[in-house]
Amino acid sequence: MATATLRSDSAHSAAPPRHTGRQFAGVGVHVLAIAVLAVLVGVLYQATFVSLAQLWNTNPRYPFGFFVPVLSLAVAAATWRRRGPPLSCDVATTDVRSGLLVMFVGLLAHVGAIFIGQVPLDVASLVLVVRGALRIVGGRPTLQVYGAAALLPLYMIPVSLDSLTPVVAWLQSFTARGAAALLDLAGVPVFADGSILQLSDFTMIVTSASSGIRELEGVLAVSLAVALISGRGRRFCTVLVALSVPLAAGVNIVRLTAAGVAFEWRGRAAAEQVLISFDGWVIVAVAAVLVLVTAVLLSSLTTLIPGKRMKSQ
């Protein structure tokens, strides 16, 4: 008779596997060792973090910057809880050599960044240094399970996606239609024409800036982090990350709908106030809520299809 077992990397498995090899000392020593290394990395990249903070403060297009290091730490903590600390007794000499090489390249990039003053290069060097250090202290298995957490800081670099014209055009149309549908549901009379939303005495135009393209990078980071923290495997991760595009538009759908409802109930000034104040941390919070709700719904959906998550022995 065929029996079924849950996938070994599933969050639902009874005992989450830890990477092979004898573990190093107690939890306290793990925490101390990782804390010392983290502080040293922090001191080494102190100026980079200051530059990034200035960049995020002065760039209204990227309110997610401050959130990315927190997401990265959260993914690392979830990985620790699920797969054990990033230290191992069994590390091959080749892993140590590879780690040293990667750290060396990262430090070289850091020196280059000091000379040319390019923050993105410095962030890339940070990722390389952390990945090299992980390989030295934990070997290849540690790098495989913690690698994603070490790559997330790349999202700290604001990237302009405004030039992706087809995506922007689709997002504009999607956002306008989504907001019109929600306003209809809320009983607000609205007429949608392309990227224009016409309320009785108030017009909202979905420009490229308010299409969701500027939130896309941040929503991608949040989706990836939530998927990794959930530990539900690659398929779940891929679907959730792919949903980032409509979710980025969803942030602006919420904004336009809120403005439309405010106009209906409180008038033009209230609607304009909603449009103005819907910025920075509000965008991050709405994006996080949308991603979390989507992840929970997606998780429930995959639980309802058990055949996909089991395999015959």
Binding site: A33, L40, V91, H110, I116, A133
Partner: protein
């Protein structure tokens, strides 16, 4: 290798990198002083007679930020009476190259006939950005081009500091702007000829080793000693 040794190895690399970084930054930032003997060209040396054009100096209003040694001169064509206004601005090393306030205001407020200024080849190596501003029936052309001046070799700096200076300090710049109103259809062509005359007259003043700055980003311009 024992786990503790590997942790100590990583800690030693990171600690050494922190120390090295601190020393490197202190070393290179000591070189971030203004050049001690940069020779600023004198814009007023621009000849007052350029072909059929005769120049009259005008007092410059508020000086552009971080720019020194500015010149404003009106040139009158002896035959047609056409007027061209020339601004020459010198920006020292470390300052962002800036032009005249009038050009900045024109670019900020004026209605240009094109969002992107078109290019005008002055000579074999210099390109001016030309923009036509329209206000009602009036048209006015602005030609703007600049040169990065070579920074002088300063022996007190070692190769590391010199490399840092070259990468981080914007070299001194001379920016030239010419405003010409368009009253007749032939005026733009006459203006372009005048721009060539101004460029030719400025070359000996700023030095033939100055490099036209329109082709590369000023922030990353490398200038040979």
């Amino acid at each position: 290798m024992k786990t503790l040794l590997r942790i100590l190895l990583v800690a030693a690399i990171l600690g050494g990198a922190c120390y090295g970084q601190r020393a490197l930054i202190a070393h290179v930032q000591a070189s971030l002083l203004p050049p001690s003997h940069q020779i600023a060209p004198s814009p007023s040396a621009l000849p007052k007679s350029l072909g059929a054009w005769r120049g009259e100096d005008e007092t410059l209003g508020a000086a552009p930020t971080a720019a020194v040694g500015s010149l404003k001169r009106n040139y009158f064509h002896s035959a047609t009476g056409e007027v061209a206004t020339v601004y020459v601005t010198y920006s020292p090393a470390g300052a962002e190259p800036s032009g005249s306030r009038e050009a900045a205001v024109a670019m900020a407020r004026g209605t240009a006939d094109s969002a992107v200024p078109s290019k005008f080849d002055i000579g074999p190596d210099a390109i001016a950005a030309q923009t036509c501003f329209v206000a009602g029936e009036n048209k006015r052309w602005l030609f703007r081009w600049s040169f990065a001046l070579p920074t002088l070799h300063e022996p007190q700096f070692d190769p590391v500091q010199t490399a840092y200076r070259r990468l981080r300090i914007t070299p001194p710049h001379v920016t030239i702007e010419v405003f010409v109103p368009e009253n007749y259809p032939t005026d733009p062509d006459a203006a372009r000829e005048f721009v060539r005359l101004v460029d030719a007259a400025m070359r000996p003043i700023i030095g033939y080793d100055a490099r036209p700055a329109g082709r590369r980003s000023a922030g990353l311009t490398l200038v040979s000693n």
